[in-house]
Amino acid sequence: MAKITFITSDGNTTIVEGSTGSVMELAVQNKIKGIDGDCGGVCSCATCHVHVNPEQWDKTGAPDELENDMLEFDDNVSEYSRLSCQMKVSEDLDGLILTVAK
């Protein structure tokens, strides 16, 4: 089980719990605003973009090449950007705080 916090662009904070699937799927399941997951998690739509709390960057690790290429020219990219469809929910992510990108 991992508890993950999402902060949405309207300032709302939602804490959700999950144990399987991707973080994007967990967000969609819990109707987190701003995470649509339109491509179904294949790194092609960037509608699952989040910013990881900088202090927790080592929890998630950096994106791989494809994900990085998708993010590099995104208008809202930050040093701590990830596509949440590429992050697997696991115990390691327990306590993670994510801000949904605009």
Partner: protein, 415 residues
Amino acid sequence: MSSTTQNKVCIVIGASHAGVNFAFALRREGWEGEIILYDNDKEFPYHRPPLSKAYLTSEEGTEQSLLFPKENYKTDNIVLKLGIAVNTINKEEKTITLANGSVQQYDKLVIATGARPFIPPIQGLDLAKNVFPMRTAEDAINIRKTINNSLTKRAVIIGGGYIGLETAASLKKLGADVVVLEREERVLARVTAPVMSDFFTQLHQNNGVKVLTRKNVVSIENKDDHNVVVCDDGTKLNADLIVVGVGIKVNSELAQNAGIVIENGIKVDETAKTNDPNIYAIGDCTYHFNPHYKYHLRLESVQNAVDQAKAAAKAICEQEVVYDTIPWFWSDQFDVKLQIVGLSKGYNQIIIRQEEAENSFSTWYFKDDELLAVDAVNFAKAYVLGTKFIKSKQKLDKSKISDLSIPFKPNSFLA
């Protein structure tokens, strides 16, 4: 608007990418009345793209690739009626009739009936065993079973489009002996440029798939334990499995019989509305206008299904909306990820940028000075930047695109 939709009923015909995304979007936009989805497929709504890709080579069922988790239908109060076909629409009465004869009233109706595989009139095809199209989870499971249960694993794919090629790649991974038969002079002839066709032909051949072009299949001979596929030039191929991937037919008969205007699909306006004010249509079944490219078209893609669904939901909730997007699409074959943005129709110049890494390049389609589309092969940066350039219509210096000494950055290519 809540007070106005509370006692209303919105019915959706077709519970796949378009219908399901529409239903959730409609709730999100504030519709308070009933939302009922009908589909003749019994499977809980799933993603179709994996069927020809990862799904075929895995042991999984569709539980791993549901469009939305089951709980969400409950929490959003979306009623899913599976295994039920809708037979007729009566737009004057505002009713639909189900296959079992029962009649349902609607206030708003959304047609998301998509498309079905086109089965060409090939002699003997209807009698042949182990012949499948590739559209539904059931098709994919049948294909998987047939190849896994066959000792000789000889697969013949009729049709070298994206679905045919993806299926070929997946079957190869499963250890099959795979031949792709294409009627035109090159694979992907209808959808992409010759350079891309060449690339994918080479990719398949390097991976041991036989790609044969200018092969018009005329008949299937049924032997005891296998079929023989016969082409008009006399070529004969033994097949334990035949996959038919020669394109689709739009499911528009239901709409047509109801008096809805059909033109290469169900004709809709920029809000996804048909010629009837209470009936909308979305996804693969629609013929719609793209404001960026300024022409009408039909699209078979997840992007179109999802985005048009969102537009229809807004429109039905009486919000201002225009369905205006730059189409995108992807395909996975072997270790290649193709990402396409834009519509290349009408291009008169192609620029190719080959990255240093093998199998990594991008094809840029121009009509004079306007960038129309980009095909990115294992190079998502070109896909993202292409999207930006197409949207902004910024003028580009074409000579810089293919120049590898120029760093791949947004400002590098501006004229």
